[in-house]
């Protein structure tokens, strides 16, 4: 097992910059998720680590060993692809044995190792079949077995669950996490599915347009997004954003339409320092209390008025789309209430959970103060 370190890595394809000056460190035994929308450069980053692509500039280290110019076979990495990339003309056994066969491992040892890893992934009974005879989930297990059999220093996974159906995805997901922890292997996992990243990873690196936006623990990424992109990418539905004015008096408060929003002390101090006239108010769908009647509003708390645009029952809760002025926001409400289109409602945002962003740089205010 090794740690992986990227230093100022840039990859250009002609004029297109796929990966832009990326610094990233993945610790030994860590499960790191590279999360980003399609075309963000996350897969390119993975292939750079695998050695399929060479960086235009920058360096890649495994521990303290510079691997930037090493071909893939000398890096000893295992790679699992989204489409599994099994060799269709070989039986499952030969698929898994292929990396060992290339390394000229003695036959007996190959046999032992293939059976060992097949047992680990519970595919011993499939060794005699061809990949085309397997289900998607089984094929994915074979692909993982092939990546693990050579005991790689780093396990790289490129959207390995995207081709599985929803139910299977969740079960393979938890198996994968357990497997990684049991083996203690350093793993880098590329995905566009934020739920997958949250569920699997020790840390998440969010990438957009080839640039790393934030690298943090899942809960930090979720609760304290560094910028509006991260907030708007993570969460289902993602964070809501509403433009707001700032009023500086004896206290500092936000003005949304005709309503004012009280702020927690932390933000009052930050705003007094930054003296912004406008901010973007961000809040998650679950951090809002939807009140149907003004009389329900507790005295001393602040609410924003809105009108229900659509109602989508989800079973455990109801997803409401609400218009605040011209802005649409999505919030979760308990299904015990009856909501209908056109209802006027009052939104009470949990002050501890609301986040403020600078409208010009889109960076969260607390990060703006720190740097």
């Amino acid at each position: 097992m090794v740690s992986v370190r990227l230093e100022k890595v840039t990859k250009k394809f002609g004029k297109v910059v796929a990966v832009n000056n990326v610094d990233l460190e993945i610790e030994e035994g860590e499960f790191m998720a590279l999360l980003g929308p399609s075309g963000s450069g996350k897969s390119t980053l993975l292939y750079l680590i695998a050695g399929i692509y060479k960086p235009t500039s920058g360096k890649i280290f495994f521990d303290d060993h510079d691997v930037t110019n090493l071909p893939p076979r000398e890096r000893n990495v295992g790679l699992v692809f989204q489409n599994y990339a099994l060799y269709p003309h070989m039986k499952v056994y030969d698929n898994i044995a292929f990396p060992l066969k290339i390394k000229k491992v003695p036959k007996e040892e190959i046999r032992r190792k293939v059976f060992e890893v097949a047992k680990l992934l519970r595919i011993e009974h499939l060794l005699d079949r061809y990949p085309g005879q397997l289900s998607g989930g089984q094929q994915q297990r074979v692909a993982i077995a092939r990546a693990l059999v050579k005991e790689p220093q780093v396990l790289l996974l490129d959207e390995p669950l995207s081709n599985l159906d929803a139910l299977l995805r969740v079960s393979v997901r938890s198996e994968l996490k357990r497997l990684q922890k049991n083996l203690g292997i350093t793993a880098i996992y590329v995905t566009h599915d934020q739920a997958e990243a949250m569920a699997l990873a020790d840390r998440i690196a969010i990438i957009n347009e080839g640039v790393i936006q934030q690298v943090d623990l899942p809960e930090v990424v979720y609760n304290r997004p560094k910028n509006m992109f991260v907030g708007g990418f993570i969460g289902n539905p993602p964070m809501n954003f509403v433009e707001a004015g700032v009023e500086y008096n004896e206290t500092v408060k936000l003005i949304v339409g005709e309503d004012s929003v009280w702020l927690p002390q932390e933000y009052i101090e930050i705003l007094r320092k930054l003296k912004l006239q406008k901010v973007v108010l961000g809040f998650r769908p679950e951090d809002v209390l939807v009140l149907k009647d003004e009389s329900q509003v507790e005295p001393g708390s602040s609410v924003i008025r809105g009108e229900i645009f659509t109602v989508e029952p989800m079973g455990r809760e109801v997803l409401l789309t609400i218009m605040i002025g011209e802005t649409m926001v999505k919030v979760y409400a308990p299904p015990t209430q009856y909501y209908s289109m056109g209802d006027k409602v009052f939104l009470q945002i949990n002050p501890a959970k609301l986040r403020l962003f600078d409208p010009d740089t889109t960076i969260a205010l607390e990060y703006l103060v720190k740097t």
């Binding site: 399929i52 990339a85 099994l86 269709p88 085309g132 094929q139 081709n163």
Partner: protein, 292 residues
């Protein structure tokens, strides 16, 4: 694997009409070959569509393989030898075409080098060039390189006609097999490279098995091109093949036509056989291991 069904909107009646139309259109062809085969089993040609002229016999076939073709002035024709010669040329062409095309096709599909698209266009241009138009230049090279020893020259003429005929087939074959390589996902090749295989090994152990239907296709086309070739064989080959044998006898005054019909049928056989045997392989486009 999912079974592919046609869209279920066509009516039975239209289908019957269509089948009849297709049969009607191919009737001349079926009639043509049917009469040829029938004539080879008759003492008289039946091409006049008169069934009374059909008198069954297998003497034509016996005579053919005994090589007794009295009409050629007593010279015995060794048909077995010609068949072997034809097979040597056809298999040789197929071998050379496959060998060159699978290497060139892979390079054109997968390797990034300067002038690749230019080469691809030139190859296409080369394909548009008819073989006859090149034959004088090809002949000059043949004359210049021909060994003086007669036995050696005979063997050389085989090698020369094989390579020259293959050269005409190679451009199209490269394009065809390139298409098959293009369809193999990059990830499969990457996986093998990550697993530690060299590029050559990836090509041999992973890529080639995945383009098998394509290899079969170009091999068949090349084989048939070699089998049916007349001009190149006639120009360069010292020996005779079935094509030159039939061609040289067809205009002979005393040609015994039913026997030539047998020779023609024999000449047709591999074409039909090849297609029947490899039809499944040609249709098989399995690139399994990829679901989605």
């Amino acid at each position: 694997m999912m079974q592919l069904w046609d869209v279920e909107v066509k009516s039975r009646k239209i289908e019957i009409v269509l089948i009849l139309a297709v049969l009607l259109a191919s009737l001349p062809l079926i009639l043509n070959y049917g009469l040829l085969i029938l004539s080879s089993f008759s003492t008289e040609m039946v091409t006049n569509l008169d069934p009374t002229s059909f008198r069954p016999t297998i003497d034509n076939w016996i005579l053919l393989f005994e090589g007794r073709l009295s009409v050629t002035g007593g010279v015995r024709e060794d048909v077995v030898r010609y068949t072997i010669n034809t097979a040597i040329v056809a298999l040789g062409v197929a071998g050379v075409v496959v060998l060159v095309s699978v290497m060139a096709g892979y390079a054109m599909s997968r390797m990034n080098f300067k002038g690749r698209s230019l080469i691809m266009q030139l190859i296409l241009l080369l394909h548009a060039f008819p073989g006859v138009a090149l034959i004088i230049a090809v002949y000059l090279i043949f004359r210049a390189t021909l060994p003086s020893d007669i036995e050696l020259a005979r063997i050389y003429s085989f090698a020369y006609v094989i390579v020259a005929r293959a050269a005409l087939e190679i451009p199209m074959s490269i394009w065809l097999i390139k298409g098959f390589f293009d369809r193999v996902p990059w990830e499969v090749e990457w996986a093998a490279i990550i697993d530690g295989a060299s590029r050559l090994r990836v090509w041999r152990e992973v890529m080639l098995p995945m383009v098998k239907p394509g290899i079969a296709a170009i091999a068949i086309f090349a084989f048939l091109a070699g089998w049916e070739d007349l001009i190149y064989v006639r120009t360069f080959l010292f020996d005779r093949t079935l094509a030159t044998y039939i061609e040289s006898n067809i205009n002979v005054e005393f040609a015994y036509m039913p026997l030539l019909a047998a020779a023609g049928t024999l000449y047709l056989l591999p074409t039909i056989l090849f297609f029947i045997l490899t039809q499944r392989l040609l249709l098989e486009t399995s690139t399994g291991g990829i679901k989605g």
